[in-house]
């Protein structure tokens, strides 16, 4: 252990260090995990129809798109920024996909257009935040209105459909008994988890979120990394938009409307610190399942949506407060 190699005399005037087990248990992810277990038990008691893996997986596909964006959003929030435009980017990129396909281009071109639009929108956010030094939270409130507004302008109120049958129904394609959106989610989680936890890039994201100024002084390319994260948000959103298009076999401008809140909810539930510098992919991963279990459990028990909304709103507030308390306790 490294700790023991430091001479005893040096330790005298420094504050005592918390035992390692305490630091682990005090992490908000532990709270998410406990909630996940409680929610699963609660949902099983609430409705006899709940405890069915196939059903839970199917329900997960409905949230998988938000959860995938939430994974990237986790990195963005750890880096000290936020992006509320994910849902609007999903809608606009999906509408562009639909329009391109409807205009007679092959579906591969349409997919490309959608991905490129994701890059462009993420970049647009990044320019406003980084080049013009505007706060990301208000910038992305502006762009969420703008992006969805453009989607509305180009797609109107109609839904665009009649995609080729191979493209449709990705949520009913299975690999190893898992629907593809679930696989995508798990793969993205694994990849981002490794990047965040094991690589220099991940380390630097934490450092940027802890203090962007100190990071810049340490030679970390803060602007480049943040730009990359915003673009990552755009790409993830357009992938999520495509998954949604495939699942629904149609796209509309109001696709994923209001989902920005769900995305933030997932990340917050996973214990990522709203002020940046702390958080984890495993937390977001667990939180996505937690959200699905809670929402699905209440829906299958026919609990009215009024109560569901209240529960979710409370959950968001409580998880922010709890995370905040945990983190402000563990730093003096």
């Amino acid at each position: 252990m490294s700790d023991t190699s430091i001479p005893k005399s040096a330790v005298q005037d420094a504050a005592p260090v918390r035992p390692r087990w305490k630091t682990i248990l005090l992490r908000p992810e532990a709270m998410t995990f406990v909630l996940l277990i409680l929610a699963t038990l609660g949902a099983s008691l609430l409705s006899p129809f709940f405890a069915d893996i196939a059903y839970i997986l199917e329900s997960f596909t409905y949230y998988s798109e938000y959860a995938i964006v939430g994974l990237v959003l986790t990195l963005v929030i750890i880096s000290g920024e936020i992006d509320l435009s994910g849902a609007a980017m999903m809608a606009l990129s999906a509408c562009l996909f639909g329009i391109t396909y409807q205009a007679g281009y092959p579906i591969s071109v349409a997919i490309l257009v959608s991905l490129i639009s994701g890059v462009a929108m993420g970049w647009f956010n990044a320019i406003l935040v980084i080049r013009f030094k505007l706060p990301s939270i208000i910038v992305t409130i502006g762009t969420l209105t703008l992006f969805r507004g453009i989607a509305q302008v180009i797609a109107g109120d109609r839904s665009i459909s009649k995609f080729p049958s191979w493209f449709v129904g990705i949520d009913y394609q299975y690999v190893l008994n898992l629907p593809i959106p679930v696989i995508v989610f798990c793969v993205v989680a694994l990849a981002l988890g490794v990047i965040l936890g094991g690589t220099v890039l991940g380390r630097q994201i934490y450092q940027i979120g802890t203090s962007a100024i100190a990071a810049q002084h340490a030679g970390i390319r803060v602007n480049r990394i943040k730009t990359g994260l915003f673009i990552g948000m755009g790409v993830a959103s357009s992938v999520a938009g495509l998954l949604t298009a495939s699942r629904l076999a149609s796209v509309r401008y109001d696709l994923a409307s209001g989902a920005e809140l769900q995305m933030v909810l997932i990340v917050m539930l996973g214990g990522t610190y709203i002020f940046g510098g702390r958080g984890s992919i495993i937390g977001t991963f667990l939180a996505a399942w937690l959200l699905v279990i809670i929402a699905t459990g209440m829906t299958v028990a026919n609990i009215p949506i009024n109560a569901q909304l209240t529960v979710l709103g409370l959950l968001l507030i409580i998880s922010i407060i709890a995370t905040n308390i945990i983190y402000s306790r563990t730093q003096r």
Partner: protein
């Protein structure tokens, strides 16, 4: 045997129109001995109904009735329900162009006739002479668009309406604020406007409110489709002379009878088949497996509005 389980997945909660429809279901099931539940998402967004429908499949219900928020976003999940042997009904609106994804549609009236009925109503209010306008829901709303086509056809083809001129069709997106602004713009743009048809509940309420505020109720006749509860004050104070609707209650009543009948085999869900429903008489299954509760619209005015509460 277990009672038949019927669930109705509404457009969204808080929509008073559906209270009466649900009551029709409840009364129908009381009489027929089926189990009924009503669920609805918070918003009328295209995909918000999907988790609710999946949950009902998981619960193993026998019949899913829904008023779809989108003509095609539900296709996949409804197909899955039907594959499980669940009877899928589209209630109060159809999935135009996607009829193969539901078993039958329960419509409140013959949608082909709504347009003509509405033109006749506004014509009667303005002595079949002058400029009229339409304030609709959204540009792509399928039912409203079908009716607007009907209105245009009636105006073009029926010599009775030769002196009436449709000057504008505008859209308030079923939002009170937008509808109000659009209606005010109409009044300002067309000073000679004589009548407004608003075939949507949000739109007609906003239009009535605007002409009332502007003190133009005498010169501009507002009519359209609305619910009696929503329109009652305007009828009482004379802002609106008459408007129309069908009976949502009868829709629920018919849907429950149809569902139970199909499930226990007494009704054949085939085009051209007929069956009897108490209070409604003989119902015929029309092309594309769609059935109506009544042929024409009911007109509400000062003489009868107090007989209705929905």
């Amino acid at each position: 045997a277990d009672p038949i389980k019927i669930v109705f997945v509404g457009k969204n909660t808080g929509n008073p129109y559906f209270d009466s429809l649900v009551q029709g279901f409840v009364d129908g099931c009381d009489k027929l001995g089926c189990e009924f539940e009503f669920v609805a998402p918070a918003t009328a967004e295209a995909t918000s109904q999907i988790p609710f429908i999946t949950a009902q499949i998981q619960r193993g219900v026998d019949v899913i009735a829904t008023s779809p928020n989108s003509p095609d976003a539900l296709n996949q999940v409804l197909d899955r329900a039907r594959a499980k042997g669940i009877l899928v009904l589209s209630v109060n609106g159809d999935m135009t162009g996607n009829e193969e994804h539901r078993d039958a549609a329960i419509l409140p009236t013959d949608f082909e006739k709504v347009g003509a009925d509405q033109v006749e109503l506004v014509g009667s209010l303005i002595d079949y002479e002058g400029e009229i306008a339409i304030l609709s829901a959204t540009t792509e709303a399928p039912d409203q668009n079908k009716w607007i086509v009907g209105m245009n056809e009636a105006l073009a083809n029926d010599p009775k309406y030769a002196k009436m001129k449709l000057v504008a069709t505008v859209y308030g997106d079923d939002q009170p604020e937008k509808s109000t602004t659009e209606m005010e713009a109409l009044l300002s743009t067309y000073p000679n406007l004589r009548g407004v048809i608003s075939p949507t509940t949000v739109g007609i309420a906003a239009s009535a409110q605007v002409v009332q505020s502007a003190g133009k109720a005498d010169t501009v006749k507002v009519t359209g489709l609305g619910t009696p509860n929503q329109m009652r004050p305007f009828i009482k104070d004379g802002t609106v002379e008459a408007f129309q609707l069908w009976s949502p209650y009868n829709e629920g009543w018919l849907a429950s009878h149809f569902a139970v009948g199909v499930k226990d085999g007494t009704i054949k869900n085939e085009v051209g088949a007929t069956f009897e429903v108490p209070n409604l008489g003989t119902i015929t299954i029309n092309p594309l497996n769609s059935i109506n509760t009544q042929a024409g619209l009911t007109t509400f005015d000062a003489s009868n509005i107090d007989d209705f509460n929905f």
